[in-house]
């Protein structure tokens, strides 16, 4: 279903064809039954170890993109390739996620950790059960039913919990934890899968600014640690590491700029920016977020303000005098 030009364009994204990619999206599109096109022709390559930030206005298709990768949302067309399981092994190991059957998909999902905005912990299970649920794809049904996981899994769960500072909370119920703690459990669950790729959906949207930064730092650290486990190069710069790659949906531009290695800007289902964090100029941000959503700011930035007239008179009243906090945080990032 993919024409040859597509394949070559995907290769152009990653010039070094010999180094296997952690993830490759080829002309991915998603149209919801309601008719709206959430993604159109998204092609993207993520090398191992890269922590990629996905920014864009709400409704731009960020969540859809992430969910199309592990097919919690079925893409309408296009292909998704997950890189080889062991970093450094030859490229033929790459599997096409979008072509897998139900069993194969479950197998592949084990290698993709997912972290959610609202943490998505099973609230009434203990922290330990939540972490161990990351192993569900690996253990036979009876083990998971009786909660008798293999000793190595349990020891690893304790180690990971200790790593994120929650070892003593293992027997607590997940809903007894604070937001930051819950997100740590969410990260731990994803890490318990021993993933090759992390899909992170707005990890900080439900957290306060301080906790948000801690969570982002933790994410960067665990990705980097996974890199060190496989790679001897210590000071691995952005994109050069191997191992745990991550795609992070994030709405806070300042946070994205500080913690991400690469930024992809999405608007109306299309990639409109792909580059380093410091390339996010005001023009680029306008391009990503559009004039409508940034009413007064875009006018300040010297853009022709044709947008407000397209709105009913009432709409501009939503943005009165003082700038909303997101504007300020973005201004700080500029």
């Amino acid at each position: 279903m993919v024409c040859p030009t597509t394949a070559s364009s995907a290769e152009r994204v990653s010039p070094d064809a010999r180094s296997p990619l952690a993830l490759r999206l080829v002309r991915l599109s998603k149209r919801y039954p309601a008719g709206d096109l959430a993604l159109s022709d998204v092609s993207l390559s993520v090398p191992p170890g890269q922590v990629l930030g996905l920014i864009g206005p709400s409704g731009a298709g960020k969540s859809t993109l992430i969910r199309c990768i592990n097919r919690l949302v079925e893409p309408t067309s296009g292909q998704v390739f997950l890189g080889p399981a062991r970093p450094g092994s030859p490229a033929p190991d790459e599997i096409e996620l979008s072509a897998l059957g139900r069993r194969g998909l479950r197998r592949a999902r084990r290698r993709i950790g997912m972290i959610f905005q609202e943490f998505a912990l099973v609230e009434r299970l203990t922290v330990m059960e939540n972490v161990l649920s990351g192993r569900l794809g690996y253990v036979p049904f009876w083990r998971s039913w009786l909660r008798r996981f293999p000793p190595a899994d349990i020891a690893n769960a304790y180690r990971l919990l200790d790593r994120v500072g929650l070892a003593e909370h293992a027997d607590k119920r997940a809903d007894a934890l604070s937001g930051g703690q819950r997100q740590r459990v969410g990260i731990t669950r994803a890490l318990a899968q021993e993933p090759d790729l992390l899909l992170v959906d707005e990890p900080t949207a439900s957290l306060d600014p301080k906790t948000s930064r801690q969570i982002m730092r933790l994410l960067r650290e665990v990705c980097a640690e996974a890199n060190r486990a496989d790679d001897t190069g210590r000071g691995s710069g952005p994109g050069s590491g191997r191992g745990l790659a991550a795609i992070v949906n994030i709405h806070d531009v300042a946070l994205a700029q500080q913690f991400m290695m690469r930024i992809v800007g999405l608007r109306a289902g299309r990639i409109v920016y792909d580059g380093p964090p410091d390339g996010l100029s005001p023009e680029v941000l306008t391009q990503i977020y559009g004039e409508e959503d940034w009413g007064s700011t875009t006018e300040d930035a010297g853009h022709s303000g044709g947008a407000p007239e397209r709105h009913p008179a009432g709409a501009t009243q939503h943005h009165p005098g003082p700038e909303p906090p997101t504007d300020q945080s973005m201004a700080g990032a500029l």
């Binding site: 919690l72 999902r109 950790g113 997912m114 099973v122 609230e123 649920s133 192993r135 794809g137």
Partner: protein, 294 residues
Amino acid sequence: MNRHEPRASSRQAVSPAQKAAHQPANQQPQANARWRRHTPRRELIGWLAWLLLVLLFLVCWELMTRDQIWAFVWDAPRQAGDLFSRMVPPRWSYLDQLWRPLWDTLNIATLGTLIALVIALPIAFLAARNTSPSVAFLRPLALLVIVASRSVNALIWALLLVTILGPGLLAGVIAIALRSIGFIGKLLYEAIEEIDPQQVEAVRATGAGPVQVLDYAIMPQVLPAFAGIAVFRWDINIREATVLGLVGAGGIGLQLKASVDTLAWPQVTLIFIVILATVLVSEWISAEARKRLI
């Protein structure tokens, strides 16, 4: 936030005041001195709906009381006084003969609830849109079972079963179970449909199989609801079981019927008191249990 929810269609028989304030789309930005909650048209429809409701009530009342002998109604206070004077004082000595029927009543309710739980659990999973293996075929079937069970009162089930199985506790237990399947099944499948889909998504994203998703993401979320519904229904069943004896299905209702039939009103009073006490105790137990579960 509730204020914006009742976005009622104006066609319904609802008070216009219930509808949250929405600015009409054509509202002018300049100052408007005459603020009305609804457009005049909508207000009119609201009033018409009220009028219709009142008319319907009057028609129904007329139909219902067509054959009513009003002399009986005017006589009612005297009848009530007469009844009351015969009912007090209760015959306390009769209490000795009530312990066994009371125990039977409790058993009917408990066993009936247990049977219903076992049957209702799979039915609820079949009926819930997000867990049903076949939305096209099995789901309507499960819903039909639930509706059929719910629409028929336990007393009617008992009436049927007594003609089939003969009088006794077994008819009562089965009647209670048959009625409870629908109740538990309905509440449970609604609880299943209301679970947080993200938690399910998260467990599914780890590569878990469908049964593991059920075990790790769905059951933990519905288990409290399940237990709460079970205790709630048990409490209702105690109440229902007290009257099943009226049609011969065992329990304290048998004594009630015998006493009413022989016009032994002091005994009836005592039975009422015993039923009231049982129901209050079971309600207290159920409320306490549900409080702990949350």
